[in-house]
């Protein structure tokens, strides 16, 4: 008798539990406002990308095409897998001394791990992480490029004598 009772109660409980599960999925069917999918290329205007998102390394230039990089190569030493190459050149200063300045800041976006160690290591705040993210290219060599714009120079620091 007990076995028969267990048989039927197990069937009944099973059916009730199954129906509850169905009710849940059915309720989502009737609530299209809960849909989370965003149609990507069409919603670019309303897309929110947080400003700290690590998309690539970027060297900000001000309106005079000047940057802050002194070619100290600390970022190149900090990068774990060699995605940075600093090429420096020597120029003549007005008073005759030679100074090392940045020629090319070569960045390999294809191998960069976006770990932010270079930004962390820079003593002059020359590079930041930018939140751009659409970088697809057909040719991998286009992922290796210079971060400093052509014709840019180091921003002059105001010394005490000039103030």
């Amino acid at each position: 008798m007990n076995a028969a009772k267990r048989y039927f109660t197990s069937i009944f409980k099973a059916i009730v539990a199954l129906l509850k599960g169905m009710k849940l999925t059915g309720s989502y069917l009737l609530r299209p406002s809960k849909i989370l999918t965003q149609q990507y290329p069409e919603n670019r205007d309303t897309l929110y990308i947080p400003e700290r998102f690590k998309g690539r390394v970027f060297m900000p230039h001000d309106e005079n095409n000047e940057h802050n990089c002194t070619a100290c190569t600390l970022c190149q030493l900090a990068c774990p897998n060699g995605s940075i190459r600093i090429i420096a050149k020597n120029i003549e200063m007005p008073d005759g001394t030679k100074k090392k300045v940045l020629d090319q800041w070569v960045y390999n976006l294809g191998s960069c791990t976006l770990c932010q160690l270079c930004v962390d290591a820079c003593p002059s705040d020359a590079i930041v992480m930018d939140n751009a993210f659409e970088f697809s290219v057909y040719d991998k060599s286009r992922l290796i490029y210079n971060l400093n714009k052509p014709g840019s120079r180091l921003k002059e620091k105001k010394t005490n004598s000039q103030v």
Partner: protein, 375 residues
Amino acid sequence: MENIIGSQIIQSSDDEFIINVGPQHPSTHGVLHLQLKLDGEKIVDLKPFLGYIHRGIEKMSESLNYKQFIYLTSRMDYLSAHINNQACCLAIEKAIQAEVPERARVIRTLMAELARLTSHQLWWGSTGLDMGAVSPFFYAFREREMILEIFEETCGSRLTMNYCVPGGVMNDIHPDFVRKVKQIIKQFRDNLHEYDELLTNNPIFQSRTIGVGYLSREEAISLACTGPVARASGISCDVRKKEPYDAYDRVTFDEIITTEGDCFARYKVRLEEMKQSMNIIEQLIDNIPAGEYRTKIKGIIKPPAGEYYQRVETARGELGIYLVSDGTNKPYRIKFRTPNFSNLGALKPMSLGGKIGDLVAIMASLDLIIPDIDR
């Protein structure tokens, strides 16, 4: 090479046959190659073959300095990436005896518990997927997506954060962090009943997991299983309780231990752990101490020569980092004791005598991440 592998392949008699599961297979959670010897539908022997995603993380770390190798550990157990980074930073701080500000400790703990939540949510979704129910996968990802957006706002990345550095954390938390975390906790608590309705109380799911894949306590100890796998068999092994690190000594939470040791027990342990993680987050989120978020470590990190060991509790078990330093700026040897490697050993005793359908249920309940095994 051929001879070695040939001799390791399972020998079979005429009426049993050998099946290879993987390496490309939808349900092995990564590239795991299993060789099964089947007698009809019953599994008679099982042999895992590893190494398909071995990338040489430990060897690579020997050529990078102490700040640089941390990003590699994010790629080991990528679902608790933050906890792996935290372990490395703790080991290095132990070696150079650096002071970490209180704010950084609390932030690290909060991030670790959020990472544990995301890992368990993904585990829940893929358990449903392995059992055949596709819908739970999407419901799990809805909450996970919100936590990943919090990570994106504060740390900059969603999965491999690289947010912990020796001495603290890389940036301060975003001003919206506290509000958003509270919102998520509230929403997740409201939605937790859906998890029960879809899988836990479902008679089909229960009949596939109750009594399946039994792991006894002695066997779990001898195989060195840790994490929810061991806790479901009755072993108390939570590193957060035994050797508290960061801010775990100032929060109270329960260690979930059951004694049944089958798949359903592991399932319930992980569900309860999610609730405990939410408790920890609620205790810490309102009292983040003000102050510095990082002590800048001057110069190149050069720990004194010696051996250092640090254990943490990832979402899957105990991760141990064994650091051997010879006084230079690059480590001499780093060895990772990963939880998934030991938990994989439990696969064979649990599945012998069962069916292939049980194998899928067991793998789902073990929650293996294969890159963690192969490193």
